[in-house]
């Protein structure tokens, strides 16, 4: 039997689409966990990065945060969070440590890219805005943030893809999600399940990237759209 045939049969088997161990439930788990941790990380990371960039302070910390985050293996963060928070309790087995680990991994690229984006705003533009009598708050919201949007969004995309990828690793530390199929497949030496899980996880990561690229295009002010999107700080997970 060919592997491709086995994988096709895996995807068409009814029992893989039902119940708590089926694809729809695992997909929903994965999406909910990724969305929740990305939102939490955005609420923590963006204000810090935008404020530091606006005030022009803490640059060394903001920029090196991503480098430090890159050096710490995501598997290690997941495992240490599991040790610290335990597996049981709300909102489901292994969910709390996974959530904490994902937020911790997503914050650094958000802070760094927001900071770099804000600092990259042309100083002449900032001076002109001040000369027009804008307050610091107006400057941040009406001038700096719109111009910094491409890099801020690059940070959001990096963080999102990283969160989706690392959420699949959370299956190693006992949580569910789409990674479950791969990890269980390794355990059962079931190549069809391994490949099916890999296709699901890969598709989810690519879909996330493509969707957020669309969102970015909508959010960037029209006057800035002609310029090529800058490359953000990127990290695979």
């Amino acid at each position: 039997m060919s592997l491709a045939g086995d994988v096709a049969r895996w995807f068409t088997a009814g029992e893989h689409w039902r119940g708590d161990f089926g694809v729809p439930h695992r997909l929903a788990e994965h999406a909910a966990m990724s969305a929740a941790s990305l939102l939490a990380a955005i609420m923590i990371g963006l204000p810090i990065g935008l404020w530091l960039g606006h005030r022009g302070r803490g640059g060394a910390v903001a920029i090196n945060l991503t480098n430090v985050g890159r050096a710490v293996p995501s598997l290690a963060i997941l495992a240490l969070a599991q040790q610290a928070f335990g597996l049981s309790g709300w909102p489901g087995f292994g969910a709390r440590p996974a959530f904490v680990a994902l937020v911790a991994l997503a914050v650094p690229p958000l802070v760094t890219n927001a900071y770099v984006g804000m600092r990259g705003v042309d100083r002449d533009v900032v001076e002109a805005a001040r000369g027009m009598g804008m307050t610091g708050r107006e400057l941040l919201w009406q001038v700096e943030l719109p111009i910094a949007t491409p890099l801020v969004m690059a940070g959001v995309r990096t963080a999102a893809v990283q969160v989706v990828a690392t959420a699949s690793l959370a299956a190693v530390t006992a949580w569910g999600g789409l990674g479950r199929f791969i990890v269980d497949g390794f355990g059962q030496q079931d190549n069809a399940q391994i490949v099916a899980g890999a296709l699901l996880v890969g598709a989810m990561a690519l879909a996330t990237e493509v969707t957020l690229a669309r969102v970015q295009r909508l959010l960037v002010p029209r006057g800035l759209r002609a310029a090529p999107a800058p490359a953000g700080e990127v990290t695979p997970a």
Partner: protein, 212 residues
């Protein structure tokens, strides 16, 4: 922390660190061997830049667990599987920095080299590449630190270097190997980053103090 465990496993820790370094050096080395010609081609034929960066970017987006899982049915739980994945992740970073480094060579320098009679190949090897070294090494640093982190994931396919300790810690719910694997991996990344930064200063002394 069980320090007696650390004492008893001193040999294992050294062996795992060595495997971690081997996996990383091999991945970044092969990555560089692929990225240099790719970067040069992307610069020579500008139409290639988009597709090359796009393809390496897609590879970069695939989660490591999924990439290793896709390879396992073909190459097994082997070092080959680990290396194919690890090399794949270095490519985007390295190609991007090779292109950026060569693009950063000032035009008047190139014209001067041309005027001095350098042929295209000689100019590339003896003028442009040396001037691009700081940016290329910056890429090698990012690729190396990233790879050291990703090597731990290859513990799931029977490789992993220090990652094997992390996975042992998870499976046995035993904190000591977990902390040892994590701390050693981070330390390795920091040491590698500093060593490469030092190498860049030796290779390109004129760039001292000008961070990239």
């Amino acid at each position: 922390m069980r320090w007696d465990w650390v004492r008893d496993h001193g040999g294992d820790i050294v062996a795992a660190t060595r495997q971690h370094v081997e996996l990383t050096v091999l991945a970044v080395g092969i990555g560089l061997l692929i990225a240099l010609p790719l970067g040069l081609a992307a610069r020579r034929w500008r139409r290639l830049t988009g597709p090359v960066l796009g393809a390496t970017g897609v590879l970069f987006t695939i989660p490591s667990l999924a990439l290793f899982a896709l390879l396992v049915p073909f190459t097994g739980l082997s070092r080959t599987t680990a290396e194919i994945g690890l090399v794949g992740y270095t490519l985007l970073i390295l190609v991007r920095n090779v292109v950026a480094g060569l693009d950063g060579v000032p035009d008047d320098v190139k014209e001067a080299a041309h005027g001095m009679g350098y042929r295209p190949l000689g100019q590339l090897l003896r003028v442009e590449l040396p001037l691009a070294v700081p940016v290329i090494v910056a890429g090698i640093r990012i690729a190396t630190v990233t790879t050291i982190g990703l090597v731990t994931v290859t513990g799931l396919i029977g490789q992993g270097g220090l990652g094997a300790f992390i996975i042992e810690g998870i499976n046995r719910d035993f904190r000591t190997p977990l902390v040892v694997g994590s701390v050693c991996s981070v330390a390795l990344a920091v040491v590698a980053d500093l060593a490469l930064a030092g190498a860049a200063r030796l290779l390109a002394p004129w760039s001292r103090g000008r961070g990239t």
